[in-house]
Symmetry: C2
Subunit: 351 residues, 2 copies
């Protein structure tokens, strides 16, 4: 049997802010039969993840492109791999069978061919909405969890600052830090987001960075006793201001630098005298290195979810054709929480 | 009994490069009698240490000044505490007696009054020249040792880059790293220094940074397989270039940023995309935090010295009046190895 497989492709490399026109919806015919001798499987994608890091793969050049699989440069006109949740349609892989629900590296497409050895796993429980497997119980959650607990090692009472705090990772970092007894302040780019951080997510305080002409003074105001931990999702001036306000033995988890993604010339330039004299650690990390914490993470976060201790923030668009606007929207600050595009209803009988 | 105690004082705050005229030699009368009830002792200083970090104490403002004792702002006209080696002249401290040789926080002066609780200890052995207690067996040595082994954790075969490699700390970092089986390249500011690193200290390679218009390309040439460890003594563009050339899981020990000390506007601005995707750790440190490693350090380095596995580089001036030129000279690159000013001969019968 053959189907029409719609997919998103890179039309032109991104330079600066991405726009919808950098991406294009196209399609190809796909046979739903696995070739003899192959151990591939075909997955019908239900939800796909929309993440800022993809922009670095869309550039003509980024130093990130030579590092790991997820960071390879995207080839115009080809398919774009991305995290997703789907249902197995047909499988020659002995570890998976038809109708298994899976999460892992799929693609911005309706169907993905998954080769053996790919980063993919069965979804163990449907206790929670399937989409959670991309956010709070997926890569965003594990990023927040491993970044906070492995890199920052928070102690009760420590002062934690999170940037892009209403984003997919930031909102969870703040909530996890609160559950660990920290004092947490986040920044975001609108009043609506700031209010939500304070009123709904339980942040101790929050501010709109766009209304702060001097970030260093702003952080001094929000952290009169200094910052112990900075979970950095933005880079640039915010990192400089955080380092200037850090306490002795402060820790910075460098998770993302969205303010630098769209402007090559924009660079953080933290005062190294502060880094030395305050013995600050700035550490870059990728969830990729922390999959060994996956079981502990799932168990811990599932428990928090059952007890209602974590608010799940999802921002879901519908239909593959909306991937370009969902992606470009990340850089306009459109999303609140995890940005996901839903492609098909899990409850629908599918193939 | 009373003596004339000559000392160096800050005449005017330093702004930019320090010059001899920022410092001044002066003197005061000092009674060599300890007041009743006090547990002070008086030390005749034999050698004093000349270190770049003192410049940050001489500025009108530096963010380092609020951090630890050693970093407090110097008050014009007052004495300047500094590491030194001396001999106890008179003591009411039960832990020290007349003629004990001591090392620790003394001052740029002929005699220091040392209060109980000060950072001072007896010199356990005179197996090595006394001056070694300021360099290879002193703070410079412990800085190199703790920075390399605690912060960078070198593995055999790893590629190590050291800046200011002919300086007091840098030359030891390179030699220690060689002893740990690493590939070591250093940079320095003259042909003479570069030749010495290669010919005398056993560095695998070295280069004159002043002859490299593009530091990023230079490091690419010297490290075709990338840098695993960067021991940073200079900051600014060199840190940027090192980060650009680092391998996955690279480590930067931020020990000093001499290139930034004299120019407030000069800042390192490493590409944070590299820091994240290559999971680089940049960690500031001070020897201050690593005094618990002192015994192991002394034992290990003494053994290396006995076996002739470490070359000791000392650059000694004579007489307190030469402290200002010795200090200003650090920033002109005058010194090779540990800069010390000798004030009195340990063999002379003194008081």
């Amino acid at each position: 049997m053959e189907v029409e497989n719609m997919y998103i492709t890179l039309k032109t490399c991104v330079n600066g802010d991405p726009s919808e026109s950098n991406l294009e919806l196209t399609s190809t015919r796909l046979s739903l039969k696995i070739e003899e001798g192959s151990k591939d499987m075909i997955v019908k994608n239900l939800y796909v993840s929309i993440d800022p890091y993809q922009i670095n793969r869309m550039k003509k050049y980024s130093s990130s492109q030579g590092t790991i699989t997820f960071a390879t440069q995207l080839v115009p006109r080809e398919k774009i791999d991305a995290f997703g949740v789907g249902r197995v349609v047909v499988s020659s892989n002995p570890d998976f069978k038809k109708d298994d629900l899976v999460k892992g590296v799929l693609g911005w497409e309706e169907y993905s061919i998954v080769q053996p050895g790919s980063i993919i796993s069965k979804i163990a429980t449907t206790e929670f909405p399937l989409s959670y497997n991309l956010g709070v119980l997926g890569t965003s959650g594990l990023t927040a969890y491993s970044g906070l607990y492995e890199i920052c090692k928070p102690k009760k009472g420590e002062k934690v600052f999170v940037s892009a705090a209403s984003g997919s990772v930031g909102n969870l970092v703040g909530q996890f830090a609160k559950l660990s007894g920290c004092y947490v302040v986040g920044c975001a780019g609108s009043k609506k987001k700031v209010d939500m951080l304070k009123d709904k997510l339980g942040f101790d305080d929050a501010f709109n960075y766009k209304e702060e002409p001097d970030l260093k003074s702003a952080l001094k105001r929000y952290f009169p006793e200094g910052i112990d931990i900075y979970f950095d999702n933005v880079g640039a001036e915010m990192l400089d201001a955080a380092v200037a306000n850090m306490n002795l033995l402060g820790r910075v988890a460098a998770c993302g630098v969205i303010a630098e993604y769209t402007d090559e010339g924009k660079r953080a330039a933290p005062n190294m005298l502060d880094v030395i004299y305050k013995r600050i650690t700035i550490r870059g990390f990728l969830t990729y290195d922390h999959h060994d914490k996956h079981a502990g993470f799932i168990s811990s976060i599932s428990d928090h979810l059952r007890q209602g201790r974590i608010h799940v923030l999802e921002d879901i668009s519908y239909g593959l054709e909306n991937v370009p606007s969902a992606f470009a929207g990340l850089f306009r600050g459109d999303n609140i929480g995890k940005k996901i595009v839903k492609l098909a209803d899990p409850r629908e009988g599918i193939l």
